[in-house]
Point group: C2
Chain length 80, copies 2
């Protein structure tokens, strides 16, 4: 099954890429208050069981995909 | 209003970061078929009008946030 993981810098954590995007958008004339940049990871898993998928992805996040000290994670299972 | 933009490599486009994540997850023992990595951009706009927000963000995407040749864009307006 397909799973989408959104990994974002936590509030208060420095986000140079977001700051660069924010500055560039303002320079281009867009009325933006804030911009933050994170990662989206799309996974195709072999399992089709939603609760097993969530458990696997939570382990992937803590072992590889995200740094829990500075990043927050949002896991979205796609219903078929 | 808050807008979330998901920028992903199009199907068939080389994604070295996704390939690295895929290989690392497999080495860690996770049964992953594919992994693709893109960007999530969270914006706080001054406007509170949804259709104006969407128009602005579509222009931001074509002028700065994404490369339409190799990336697809998904725009999500957050309802208050």
């Amino acid at each position: 099954m397909r799973v989408t993981v959104l990994v974002r810098p936590k509030a208060g954590i420095l986000d140079p890429q977001g700051a660069a995007v924010e500055g560039s958008l303002r320079k281009l004339g867009f009325p933006v208050q804030t911009a933050r940049v994170g990662r989206v990871v799309d996974l195709e898993l072999e399992t089709s069981d939603p609760s097993e998928a969530r458990t696997q992805v939570e382990r992937m996040c803590s072992e590889l995909l995200a740094n829990p000290l500075i990043e927050s994670v949002q896991i979205e299972l796609e219903s078929e």
